[in-house]
Amino acid sequence: MAQQRVIVVGGGLAGLAATMRLAELGRHVDLISMVPVKRSHSVCAQGGINAVNSLTRLQGDSEWKHFDDSVYGGDFLQNQPPVKEMCEWGPRIVDMMDRLGVMFNRTPEGKRDQRRFGGTLYKRTAFAGATTGQQLLYALDEQVRRWEVEGKVKKYEFWEFLGPIVDGKGICRGAVAQDMFSMEIRAFPGDAVVLATGGCGMIFGKSTMSMICTGGAAARAFKAGVKYANGEFIQVHPTAIPGSDKHRLMSESARGEGGRVWVPRRKGDDRDPRQIPMEERWYFLEERYPKYGNLVPRDIATREIFNVCVNEGLSVDPNEYCVYLDVTELPSTTQHKLEGILEIYEKFRGLDPRVMPMKIFPAVHYSMGGLWCDFEKDPHTGGLVLDSPRNQMTNIPGLYVIGEADYQYHGANRLGANSLLSCIFAGLIVGPAIDSWLNALPAGSAAAQPSSLFEGEAARHKEQYEQLINSKGDQNPYLLHRELGQTMTKNVTVVRYNQGIEETLAKIDELAERYKRVAIADTSNWTNQNLSFTRALGDMLIMARVIARGALLRNECRGAHYKPDYAIPAPKGGDPETVRTEAVRWVQAFRKQTQEWLKTTIAEYTPDGPKISYEQVDTSLIPPRPRTYGLVGAEIIEQVWRDTQSADEKAAQQAQPAGA
C-alpha cells in the first residue's frame, strides 16, 4: 500500500502543533507555508496564554470558570463542547509548552509567573516577557525541525496554497500549491489536508496582523465548497499604535500588569499628559466597570474608547480616536516584564512609554469567524470524543481546519490570551482525529487515485495563473486594496449601521468590477510577489463580501458586532418602580433577541456572492445570560434576570408530575 501522507498548510502555532502531533503518531507530513514557519504571524503574539493553574485554583478558579469566562466573553455564540474541552486542556498545554522549553517568566520558586488578562478576575495567563507568541512558536518550530531531521516531516517553505483537490465523491485528496520562487505549480496528493493559515486582517487594509494575513487560503477553500462561519465577527483591539504601513499592538498585558487607560476630563485639554493632575483625569473604564476595571473584554473596551472619543469629544489626538495608556507609574521590575512591547512603542513612536503615557487607539486585530468545522460531543463529559475523525473537519471530508482560520472557539468576541490556547489545542486534537480518518479512509489512499485528478487540478490553477499574469488593465492592485481597507474599516468595524454596510457592499461590487481590469506590473516568472498579492486581493474581495453581508443581515448587538439601531435601550434613571419596569422590559427584549439571533452565520460560495443561512448553537452546558460585566447602573438588570430565572425554575418544577 502506498504510504499515506498528510498535508499541513501553514506553520503558525496551530500548524506546527498539528505537525508535531501527527509525526508523533507516526504519520508523514508535508508542511506547506508561504513564509519559513519560524516567521509565521504567531510570532507577533505578545501577552500570553491562558490556563487555570495552582495559584488561581487557590483563589477558587477552575477549568469550568475558564470555560464560563470564555463563553460569557464570546457572548454565547460558541458551540460549547469544544470550548469546554479546550479549557480543560489548558493546564496540560501550558505544561507541555514549558517542557518543550518556552522561557516563561518565573516565580522565585521556579514556577511560572502569571498575569491577569481581559474578561476574567483571575491571574490565569502564563507569559514569556511580552513576546509569548514568539517563544511558543520557536519551541514548536524546534520540535518540528527535530521531526524533519528524523524524516517524518518534509517542509515546503515559500510555497503558496492555491486550493484543495476534491474528488468526484467530494472527498479531499490533496492540495495544489505554487513555489513562490520558481512559480512552479504542483499538485500534492494527501490523504488528509489541514488548513492552519491564520486570520484575514489585511481585508481591512491596516490591522495589527502580518502582511500575509489576507485570508487568501480560506477564500480558496471557501470557493471549493467549504462553509464559512460567523465572518462578521471581527475583533477590534482597544490598544494599538497607528502606523502608515500597519497598526502595532500594545498588548492587553500592559493593562494586565497595571497599566491604566484615561483621558483628560476637559475637552481640548492639550497639556502635556504628565502635567495633568490626577483629579483632572478620567479613568473611564475603572469608573464604569469597577469590577473588571481596565480589563473588561476587548469589544467593550473598544466601544468605550469610541464613546469617549466620538460622543464625549475627549480624544487626545485631533486625527484619531486616541486615549492614553499609562504605564509610567508601574515599578521598573513590572515595566521590565513588558519590555518587548515598550520597545515597540519606543522604536516606532520615538517616545519612552516608561516616562510618557502612550497614545493608543483601536485597530482591527482578530477574526473570530472562520472556516466551518465539525466536532463530536461526548454526551457523558459534555466535552469532545477525542479520537473522533469529525473534530476540526470541514464539510469536505478529509479537509480539516485549525487555528485562527477556524471559527470554533471564540464566538462573538475572543478573550485575550485564549487564541494561542485554541491554536495549540486544535493542533493537538486534529492529530488523533486525522489518525482515525486515515485508519478508515474511504475508497483507498490519495496515491491510488487516478493521476488525472491531480494533473487536472494543477492544470486548472496554471491556467488561472497564466490568465492573471497576462492581464493588462488599468487598475492598480495596491490602490484597490487601499480602497477596500478604507471602506471596510469605516463601515464594518466598531459601530455598524445598515446604511453604511450597504455602501460598503456596493463599493465591494465596484472594486470587484475594477479588479477584472487589474494591471500586473511584474510579468516575470520568477519570485513574482506582485502576482501573489494581486491573486490574494481577488480573494479578499470575496471574503469582504462574506463579512459585510453577514454583518448586514445580523440585526442585533452581540460581542464585537454592534449596531446602535438594534441595541436594547438601557434602563434610564428614575424612581425604583420605573427602573424596575424598564429592566423587566430589557430582560424580555434580551430573551427575544437570544431566541432570534443566537445562531451561527453560515456563508456558502456562489459566483454571485455568498449565500447566507444559520445554524443552531450548542449552549447545552451554560445557558446564555445578559453580559453586563458589572457595569455601574446595570445591577437592576442582573437582579431582574435572577428573579426571572428562579421564577422559571419554580414553574418548571411545578410542571413536573410528582414522583418523576
Binding site: 517542557r99 514569556a128 516577557g129 525541525r145 500597519k246 518587548g340 522604536k347
Partner: protein, 254 residues
C-alpha cells in the same frame, strides 16, 4: 503639489539569482513616522522610477512589520538591519539625502532585496536546539526553572534568525564553513534546561566540528548589530568553556 516633500531611495536590484545587479532610483511621498517597508509598498503602488520609467515592484521579504519575525533584513545605508523598524526620519540628516537599499551579501540573492537564508535553518538542525521529549502530550509536570536560568535563556530565545549577525561577521565568508553566531546562541539555549540538557553533549560535538565555535575570530560585530540584543558573544564564550571541559572529560574518560 510641486512642493510636496518626497523621500529619495536608491535600490540595488537583481532580476534572478544569476543575473547582474543594477541600481534604480525612486521617489515616494513623505509621511511622518514612515519606515522603509512603507517606502517599498509605495514603490510597488507607484510602479515607476524617479525618472518615470516603468518598474516592477521591488522584491523583498517581510511579514510582521514590527521587528519580530526577522524577515525584512537588508542593508540600509550600508548598515544591516530590519527595514520595518528603520524609520525614514532617523535615516536622513537632510531631507534631500538619498537612502540606499541593498540585499545582504552573505546570502545568495533570490531577487532584488530578497535573499535565501535557508542555510541558517540548516545550521539549526545541526546544533539540535530542541528539547528531546518522549512525547509532547504527556501528563509529566515540567521541570522547575530558576529565575536566573530563565533570565539567561529568554534573551537567547528572542533570536529571530534574521541574519544580521551572520552578515556582520567577518568570519562568515566563502573560505570558511563557520556556522555563525546565531546557531551557537541557539545551541546554548537549552544546555541548562531540565530536559534539554540531555542533548548537551551532542550539541557540543556539533560545535567541535568544522565550522563550529573555533571559527569565531572574536570580532564582536555580532552583538553590535543584533536588533534584539541577543547576548551572542556571551553564548560563544560559554560554548567555548563548555567545550574545553567536555574535551578534557573525554580525554580523561578514554
Amino acid at each position: 503639489m510641486a512642493h510636496e516633500r518626497t523621500v529619495k531611495l536608491r535600490v540595488k536590484r537583481q532580476d534572478t539569482p544569476g543575473s547582474p545587479s543594477y541600481w534604480q532610483e525612486f521617489e515616494v511621498p513623505y509621511e511622518p513616522q514612515m519606515n522603509i517597508t512603507t517606502c517599498l509598498q509605495l514603490i510597488a503602488a507607484h510602479g515607476r522610477t524617479a525618472q518615470g520609467q516603468q518598474a516592477a515592484p521591488v522584491a523583498y521579504d517581510a511579514n510582521c512589520l514590527e521587528e519580530v519575525c526577522g524577515s525584512c533584513t537588508m542593508l540600509i545605508n550600508g548598515r544591516v538591519r530590519q527595514a520595518c523598524s528603520a524609520l525614514v526620519d532617523d535615516l536622513l540628516s537632510t531631507p534631500d539625502d538619498v537612502i540606499t537599499l541593498e540585499p545582504m551579501t552573505k546570502f545568495p540573492v533570490v531577487r532584488d532585496l530578497f535573499v535565501d537564508r535557508s542555510r541558517m535553518f540548516e545550521h539549526l538542525k545541526r546544533v539540535r536546539a530542541w528539547v528531546p521529549v518522549d512525547n509532547s502530550v504527556d501528563d509529566t509536570p515540567p521541570p522547575l526553572m530558576s529565575q536566573k536560568v530563565q533570565e539567561q535563556g529568554y534573551p537567547l530565545q528572542r533570536c529571530m534568525t534574521c541574519g544580521c549577525c551572520v552578515e556582520a561577521c567577518p568570519q562568515v565568508n566563502e573560505h570558511n564553513a563557520f556556522i555563525g553566531p546565531a546557531a551557537i546562541g541557539q545551541a546554548m539555549l537549552y544546555q541548562k534546561h531540565g530536559i534539554g540538557q540531555n542533548l548537551a553533549e551532542e550539541r557540543l560535538e556539533a560545535l567541535r566540528d568544522t565550522g563550529g565555535v573555533a571559527g569565531c575570530g572574536n570580532a564582536q560585530n555580532c552583538v553590535k548589530v543584533c536588533p534584539k540584543g541577543v547576548p551572542l558573544t556571551d553564548a560563544i564564550a560559554r560554548a567555548n568553556r563548555q567545550l574545553t571541559i567536555y574535551s578534557l572529560r573525554r580525554w580523561f574518560d578514554r
